[in-house]
Symmetry: C2
Subunit: 210 residues, 2 copies
DNA sequence: CCCGGCCTCCACCGATCGGTGGAGCCGGCC
DNA sequence: GGCCGGCTCCACCGATCGGTGGAGGCCGGG
């Protein structure tokens, strides 16, 4: 029997090798591999596989953008396979057009089953992703900060005071406060420290490296 | 030729499969696999492989503890293979007795070479890990907070005010401030928000989930 | 035994923060 | 054209924060 044709996208060679091995043993045809977003989009257009197994953390452009491109081109169904499940990751992946979201610790058989299901047109959500989605629907709006609010929040996360942030953005301190108050409302907190923690938790901010 | 005998420890079946495949193709003998810390220690004692390829993020007890146990038992050389490189991760892994630290995006050939080198008794540091170590030696002091300082910092990260933290810990507000000032000194910041960000960056704090 | 580190507490200061309750301007959408 | 949302700004308040410069008690190691 000939199974579905898939394209593997992951920046870890070892993971690609593992997927190739697991899928091949189950009769799934691996049409190609990509280690970054550009190659993923190019190969998806070229080979038009049934399913693209997409990691979200890639060097350069993110897997999210690649997913959107591939879906927009109608080149394949995209099944996200990644390590982390933050609210923001799951939601954005589905928004970007992914047909499913699985975590890398999914047992091999379920992974193969997921790929087949995705190829057959089904939506494939791992239990964690399903939970995130359900909670996102039940409870809150994903906050969606405005550009200015995000800039102010960045300043706060760097430890800047309101006057400092005002200087950097060339606006008044009162304006900084206004933005900040709206950020507090959206994140449902009432101080700057909690706001930064909440934003990090929701994936609205990343931790700096140096 | 018969290569070194290794034990694979990773909670992702796909990664284990990938490693098994890559290593087998290079003549390395895979003596077993474990998906959690307990199994890792047990199998290491049982099989006494040349090298344990150890992921740090495992369900239950961490790979760090498993590493320390295996090293203490003299059961094998432990080569850490993980996704992230924070200062804290690298330093603690080496402290725990790991003979090397590689990232999962290491190309297959270098990974195999690393395993062979580790089996032969060498120290195996990926470029990122080497950089972290070098900078840690240069820039030194991992701050090392006291128990109380850590508790206060936790409160701050949860958005508590100094009076709140004082109540929770059953101490005076002045005491909270004293601890906090020392935390600021150690983390080289001068406000609570930056302290939380710095602590997160250094791995002294984790982000809560719910 | 004494030293040092950790934990505890005090009083007081200026700066910053969070919050209130407004207001006007502009650009895009209906 | 009208409306709405985002961005800007104002004055004023009480609470909190960060910092100063102390102090005493407790415990473990040299």
């Amino acid at each position: 029997m000939t199974g579905p044709v898939v394209l593997l996208v992951d920046d870890h060679p070892v993971v690609r090798e593992g997927l190739r091995s697991v899928l091949a043993a189950a009769g799934v045809v691996v049409a190609g591999e990509a280690g970054d977003a550009e190659a993923a989009v190019r190969l998806a257009r070229e080979h038009r596989p049934d399913v693209v197994l997409m990691d979200l953390r890639l060097p350069g452009r993110s897997g999210l953008e690649a997913t959107a491109d591939i879906v927009a081109a109608g080149a394949a169904r995209v099944l996200v396979l990644t390590t982390f499940d933050t609210d923001a990751d799951v939601l954005r992946a589905i928004e970007a057009g992914a047909v499913g979201y699985l975590l890398k610790d999914t047992p091999s058989e379920q992974l193969v089953a997921g790929v087949r299901a995705a190829a057959a047109g089904a939506t494939v959500l791992g239990p964690e992703a399903a939970d995130r989605l359900a909670r996102a629907v039940r409870a809150p709006r994903p906050p969606a900060l405005t550009a200015r609010e995000e800039q102010v929040l960045h300043g706060v996360a760097r430890g800047a005071s309101n006057p400092q942030i005002a200087r950097e953005l060339a606006i008044g301190e009162a304006t900084v406060k206004s933005h900040l108050i709206r950020v507090f409302e959206k994140l449902q907190v009432d101080d700057r420290t909690s706001a930064v923690v909440a934003a990090l938790r929701l994936g609205l901010l990343q931790l700096p490296d140096p």
